[in-house]
């Protein structure tokens, strides 16, 4: 029983990280119909920046804040400078562009910070809570991870639902031409969408770095899990991304706990295939497919 509780709690904690990555992918997909393959590399860069700030200032929280701010700026710049040119081009152009950006960022990070992984501090203790006589795997840092992802997801939800900016972003995503006719500056909304997505990605980076270590390629598996989570939730739905992340986190935690961690990546792919075969629109998508 203790094992089950341990696996559940750690599944929720890793699921929260997947949720943040999935959120980053979904925000961009929804606004621009582009899968951002560079997302893993972008959050790697912001995490390196956080690491540099933490080691020079000694303050974890300063590094944390700088990572999120850097994500905001980075996302906006990538959209303005690169993505803007392929937004109305065939989808393959965007795929190649984001893959190219991924390669470039990984190479640049290797040149600046080296290719050997380094450790990254955690916000809170990594030692599990003690309940009764037993020590759980779930630590204060895990609790922080879950809470901060929930807070960011809720913040985004409130932004979309209740603010003028959010309303304009949704209009620009659903019906760009009609939005322009209503005076919405659609280009600006896409930039904001990329910026917010990169913040969610940057958050995932600093949260997961203590456990995967910090290196140019260390975040690639996280991107794949985030992508599976996003598909699971329906690529179009931010709440779906969060729930998809949690479901995937739990599933992988049970698989690696009961069957061995070597099977976890395989399990992720099996889940992806199953979802695509049974419910291609994702578990929470609003649109329904039909045979014609």
């Amino acid at each position: 029983m203790t094992k089950f509780i341990d696996l559940t709690l750690s599944g929720i904690s890793t699921g929260a990280v997947y949720a943040a990555v999935a959120l980053a992918l979904v925000l961009i997909w929804r606004a621009t119909r582009i899968v951002n393959f560079a997302q893993g590399a972008m959050l790697m860069i912001t995490t390196f920046i956080a690491s540099a700030v933490i080691s020079s200032s000694g303050s974890y929280w300063l590094g944390f804040g700088v990572a999120l701010a850097a994500g905001l700026v980075f996302g906006a710049v990538v959209e303005r400078v690169l993505i803007r040119h392929v937004e109305n081009a065939p989808p393959l152009n965007a795929v190649i562009l984001t893959l190219g950006l991924y390669t470039l960022l990984v190479a640049v990070a290797g040149m600046i910070w080296g290719n050997s992984p380094r450790s990254f501090p955690a916000a809170f203790s990594l030692q599990g809570y003690k309940v009764g006589g037993t020590r759980l795997l779930f630590s204060p840092n895990d609790a922080f991870t879950v809470l901060v992802v929930i807070a960011v997801a809720a913040g985004l939800g409130l932004l979309f639902r209740f603010t003028a900016l959010g309303l304009q972003m949704r209009a620009a995503a659903f019906a760009p031409e009609v939005a322009r006719l209503l005076g919405v500056r659609v280009g600006r909304m896409l930039t904001v969408g990329w910026a917010l997505a990169a913040v969610a990605g940057a958050l995932a980076g600093v949260l997961v770095a203590p456990s995967v270590f910090l290196g140019p390629n260390n975040f690639d598996p996280i991107l794949i899990s985030g992508f599976v989570a996003a598909v699971l939730g329906g690529l179009d739905s931010p709440p779906g991304a969060v729930i998809g992340g949690l479901i995937l986190g739990l599933a992988l935690s049970y698989v690696s706990g009961y069957e061995g961690s070597a099977l976890a990546p395989l399990a992720a792919l099996v889940i992806l295939m199953a979802v695509l075969m049974v419910r291609p629109g994702g578990l929470f998508s609003a649109t329904k497919e039909r045979r014609v």
């Binding site: 003028a164 949704r170 019906a175 009609v178 322009r180 006719l181 209503l182 005076g183 919405v184």
Partner: protein
């Protein structure tokens, strides 16, 4: 209020709008008629900046707007209700309306004004726009355009797919908007008879060119035009 002079639009080698000139004075309705493919929708899309003009000039209240981006043209007081109604189905009725007035900030029309014009929308304000009937969608689309208090209103086939009694209501409303708010309305219609019933001026397009520009009663009396282009 709105003046179009020798406007031309090309899609590759195809001339969709070919030297069209027209004016829409304040407080009046100008109907643009013609068969499918006559260039009516292209004309509206060029005026709004959705399609770039390849020649000619468009002025709004004396100001040249020909090559401005859509968002800027909208900010000068032009509202375009696109064909197929352009309601954003993923948003609620209230959100659609709010969106229409956002760029106007404090100067936007109060939603209450729109609900008075269309009481049906008030009953459905918190529902998703996807659940509205065709007529209600058209009302929402026009109401949303009015939220920004425009000076010029472009309407693309507002009668399309609507029952005759609803068409009559919408046409009556268009006339009232021109009379009471002083709007300059450019009304694109295939339903020539209803459009002419409320218009001050009728323009017939064929293959992107103006083939007639007359008072509605003159157009209706011209049997050759009626048979060739207007279908009644």
């Amino acid at each position: 209020m709105l003046a179009v002079d020798d406007l031309r639009t090309h899609y590759g080698p195809v001339r969709a709008v070919d030297g069209v000139s027209l004016t829409v004075p304040e407080g009046s309705v100008t109907a643009v008629l013609g068969a499918n493919g006559a260039g009516k929708t292209s004309l509206l899309r060029t005026i709004t900046g959705l399609v770039p003009a390849s020649g000619g000039h468009i002025t709004l209240a004396g100001e040249e707007i020909t090559r401005l981006p859509v968002e800027e043209i909208v900010r000068r007081g032009l509202a375009h209700v696109p064909e197929g109604r352009g309601v954003i189905a993923e948003l609620t009725v209230e959100e659609n309306l709010r969106l229409g007035g956002l760029w106007r900030r404090k100067q936007a029309a109060p939603q209450e004004e729109i609900y008075e014009l269309f009481p049906r929308l008030r009953e459905r304000q918190s529902q998703s726009a996807s659940r509205l009937s065709g007529g209600e969608r058209q009302m929402l689309s026009i109401g949303r355009a009015l939220m920004a208090r425009p000076r010029v209103l472009l309407l693309d086939e507002p009668s399309l797919g609507l029952a005759p009694v609803i068409v009559a209501q919408i046409m009556g409303l268009i006339r009232r908007l021109a009379d009471t708010l002083g709007l300059a309305v450019l009304l694109v219609e295939q339903n020539a008879r209803s459009a002419l019933s409320v218009a001050n001026r009728g323009i017939v397009l064929n293959l992107g060119r103006v083939v007639a520009d007359q008072e509605p009663h003159q157009l209706a009396a011209d049997e050759r035009l009626r048979h060739a282009y207007l279908g009644f």
